[in-house]
Each structure stands twice: as C-alpha cells, then as structure tokens.
C-alpha cells in the first residue's frame, strides 16, 4: 500500500520559508519607504551640510541603497510609496479591498478609479483565498513572532491563555465596522485594522518623529494574542480577515490531506495558526494557504490541489493505528468504503 502513495512535489515543503521571506520583505519595505521619504526631503531641501550626524547617516545609507536604481531620487523614488493598506508601485496603485468597501460605505458613493485599485488583490483573493493574511500582512509577521514568543513562554513554565471563541465573531466585527462607517461617514477600519495601523505608525515613527496612538492599540492586540488567545485577533476579530475569507470562499488553490500517507499525528492541526483542523480535513474558507501544515507533516501527506471546494472528510489516515484497527475489525478482504470515517 505504501508504494502507491503519491508524494507531493518536494518544493511545497519549503514554501513556508518562502512565506517568512515574503513577510519579512514586506515589513522591511514598510520601514524602508519612510526612510526613502526622509531622504527625498533632504535632497529637496539641498541641506546635506546642515544635517545632523544621524541624518547624514540616513542620507548616506539611502543614497547607497538607491543609487544603483535611480538617477534622480527626488522624483523617481516617488514610484514606491504607501503601505499594504494602499500603495503605489510605479504607475500602479493597489489598495486593500477592506479600504475600498469601507470607503464606499463611508462616502456612500462609488468612485471607480479608487475601486479599481482593489481589482488585482480581489482577483488574487478569489483564486488563492485569504493569502494576504499569511503571506503579506505586516501584522501577521509580528503576530507569528508573538506566537513563537508564546511557545517559549509556555516552555519556560508560564501559563499562556489559549481560549477559543467563535470564529464567526469577525464577520460581526466587519458588519459593525460597516455600520459605524455609515454612521460617521469615515473609514473606521483604518483605525482598527492592524496592517493599516502598522503601516501608518512605522511612517509616523520614522518620518514624523514618534509613534501615534495606534501603536498602543496594536500592543493591546499583541497582548491579547499572547495572554488570552493564540492568534486571537486574526482568528476572531480581524475585519480584513473576515472580508478575505468571504472573498476566498470558493478559492481554487487549496491544501488537502493525502489520506493514504497520513499517520494521524495531528501536527498539522497543532501548527495551524488559524485554529483550523487539517487532520480532519477541516480547512474551510479561512485557510490562508500559509503551508505551515505542509512543511510540518512528517510523512509528506499534505499537498496543494485545485478545486473550488474542500474534499469531504476522509477518515483516519491510512498509516495510523485507528485505520488499521478498523480494517482489522472489518476483515482484510472486504472492500467497504472507509472514507466515511467517524
């Protein structure tokens, strides 16, 4: 039987590293872009001689980083601006779908040039599901580091909360946010959506001389994740996550368990940051294809597949004890369908 198990493509196992690289790159860009702006203002003011020592260091570093790419930094560096909430790359403007929804509702008008800036993210979300949460979101970068910190703290003997709430809570947050946006006529998500808050606060800290009030809010969410519920904000509260989950409900790219190669070790379920249950084929609309379960699987029994729906429950893994017991009870030669499981 083992000979017939189809092993997944070897590279899928390493995608999780690529994901960390992606998260770290996005975060580094959020730090770099404000410094580039400061550099541009120094150039615009023609003030090199008047800069302080640390300002000169910023100037020199940024000039060293950018000089291979641009000849006129003051103008050309305008090609790279913004953050994950809304950003500019060259002449392409990209926005978070949550910003677009919030703005439509807040201003009670359709402003098409802006709505179209969310087109590419929406298309990707429809195909790949909640990939933004796992691969791009700058808050995820900090939240996952925070999760790792929680593991360290638990190992050192501290009691770390791991409460579970109803995952549908975040759809309520999304709905309430939209109602408040209508009532106040402004995009309230910008104030509570962690990636937007982080992008803004990093800019404030670097270019405007200090963090704003948003950083307190973000620290509170970090503490909530650390002390109350693992990845609690993303799982239960994030309005952006709610929107992405809805958009990615019928995503094409999914992860599935190869039941023939599974030994029921449950590492996939333990590692899942979003509290999903890959061991029992429970991915649902909230899987963000982060591939942590693929990389952790000791028997290589997780892989991608392309289908607009998850496969039905497959029952216990064929390498596990439970499957062998069932098979033993039913006799070796009966071709009873075991895929029903329990």
């Amino acid at each position: 039987m083992n000979n017939t198990v189809h092993k997944p493509f070897f590279a899928w196992k390493h995608l999780n590293k690529l994901r960390w690289l992606s998260l770290a790159t996005v975060f580094a860009m959020l730090i770099l872009i404000p410094f580039l702006h400061v550099y541009q203002t120094f150039i615009a003011a023609h003030t090199y001689d008047l800069l302080s020592y640390s300002e000169k260091q910023i100037y020199d570093t940024m000039s060293a980083i950018t000089s291979p790419f641009v000849s006129d930094p003051e103008e050309q560096l305008d090609a790279l601006k913004g953050n994950t909430w809304s950003g500019t790359v060259g002449s392409l403007k990209l926005s978070d779908p949550l910003a677009v929804i919030g703005q439509i509702v807040g201003s009670r008008a359709f402003y098409w040039p802006f709505i179209l800036t969310a087109l590419i993210p929406v298309l990707f979300t429809v195909l790949l599901g909640r990939f933004f949460c796992g691969w791009i979101c700058p808050a995820t970068f900090l939240y996952e580091l925070n999760s790792n910190l929680a593991i360290l703290l638990r190992k050192s003997g501290l009691r770390i909360g791991n409460k579970r709430f109803d995952r549908r809570l975040k759809y309520l947050v999304l709905a309430i946010g939209l109602v408040v946006a209508v009532a106040t006529g402004s995009v309230v998500f910008a104030a509570i959506y962690p990636p937007a808050v982080i992008g803004r606060e990093i800019y404030y800290a670097i270019a405007l001389g200090g963090f704003g009030s948003g950083v307190v809010y973000f620290l509170l969410t970090l503490l909530f994740d650390l002390l109350v519920s693992r990845r609690g904000f993303c799982r239960y509260l994030c309005p952006g996550g709610a929107l992405y989950s809805l958009l990615g409900r019928f995503r094409l790219l999914r992860i599935k368990r190869i039941v023939e190669g599974c030994n029921d070790c449950a590492k996939c379920t333990a590692v899942c940051e979003f509290g999903l249950d890959p061991l029992h084929d429970q991915f649902g609309q909230e899987c963000n294809n982060c591939t942590a379960c693929i990389s952790v699987c000791p028997t290589d029994a997780m892989t991608f597949y392309i289908n607009p729906q998850d496969i039905a429950r497959q029952g216990p893994g064929h390498l596990g004890r439970k499957y062998k017991q069932q098979k033993h009870e039913q006799g070796p030669d009966t071709s009873v369908d075991l895929t029903d499981g329990k």
Binding site: N83, S86, A191, Y203
Partner: protein, 193 residues
C-alpha cells in the same frame, strides 16, 4: 466653629477645583476649539474629504517639503489619520504631488501650473492683521510678498511694502511661515471655517 469653617472651606475649594477642572477636562477630550489647520492643496470640502480619505498616508510620504502631518485623536474621531498642514510649522509649496499620489482623489489631481492651481486649490485665504504687521507700523518689511509663489496674483504690496491679499490667494501658507512677527501678522483663514 473652627472645624466647621475648615470643612466649609474644604467644600468650597473642592467645588472650585471641580469647576476649574471641568473646562480643562474638556480641553483634554478635544472639546476646545480645534487647531487652525489646512488640508493639502486640492483637497475636497471638509466633510467630503473625511469620508473619501482612507488614511493611507501617501500624501505625506510624497511631500518633499515635509509639511503634511497626520491627526491622531486630538481633533476628533472623524478626522483620525487624515492629513493636515500647520503653515507656521511648514507651509505648502504647491508642488501638487499629493494630489497625484492620492488613490481616492480625496486630494484632487491638479496640474502644477498657474491656471489650474488658481482654479482648483482653495486651502484658505491669507488675512493681514494691520496692528501686528511691521509694514503697516511704518517699518518696511515685505517678507510675505517675497515668500509668495503667486506674487501679484495672490498678494501685492503698496506703500512701505504694505501687503494686500488678493482674490488669487489659495492659502498655501508660505506668507504665514515667513512672517517675522510673532504672533504672525499674516495668517491663513482655512476654507472650511
């Protein structure tokens, strides 16, 4: 008796501090008059601007003059995260880059030429306080006129460089920024007031 007067005085002083505290508590909660700020050039009318702006901060990131700042919670909740300019700190040089980058056109795109700027930009209008202005006090100054990007369209000077604001003023605030008087004798009265 002594004790009673003591208690009475305690009560009075407590009441006084209570009364004294309430306005300052109002200040802390943002109940005072809002700061005199300008919106970036080409911004939509105030209410429309607040509903259109998504608080992405890109206008500040392209501002070469570093004049665009962002509201925290000090003004009111509706303006949280929106851009503003305090001309005395740093005034707008009308480079119009913020309008180019704004994804929602809460700050409209305006070409960096005289006609479109006069047509579309209205951040406010300068107002001269003749009691403070040095030129009106007989000491020839004219700094505001020299600082203006729209000389003789937005501002002109007469005898002794006495400034006179014209209808072409778009309210960029360069005159207020450059005024050598403190408090400044020329100020921008924002458009939204």
């Amino acid at each position: 008796m002594k004790r009673r007067t003591f208690i009475q005085s305690l009560g009075v002083s407590a009441a006084a501090t209570g009364l004294g505290l309430s306005p300052s508590a109002g200040l802390a909660a943002g109940g005072s008059a809002p700061p005199r700020y300008l919106r970036p050039p080409g911004a939509l009318p105030e209410e429309e601007f607040e509903s259109r702006c998504i608080r992405c901060g890109q206008c500040g990131e392209v501002c070469p003059n570093h004049c665009i700042q962002f509201f925290g919670l000090e003004n009111d909740l509706a303006s949280y995260g929106t851009p503003y300019i305090i001309p005395r700190d740093q005034a707008c040089i009308l480079c119009m880059k913020c309008g180019d980058i704004c994804p929602t056109d809460a700050i409209e795109q305006v070409e960096r030429k005289m006609e479109p700027i006069l047509d579309k930009v209205s951040m406010g209008r300068a107002l001269v306080d003749k009691n403070l202005c040095l030129s009106y006090q007989g000491k020839t100054c004219g700094v505001c006129y020299r600082a203006c990007l729209l000389q003789d369209v937005a501002i002109r000077t007469g005898l002794l460089e006495q400034p006179e604001v014209l209808d072409g003023c778009v309210g960029c605030g360069l005159c207020e920024r450059s005024c050598i008087q403190l408090p400044q004798a020329i100020r921008i009265i924002p458009d939204y007031t």
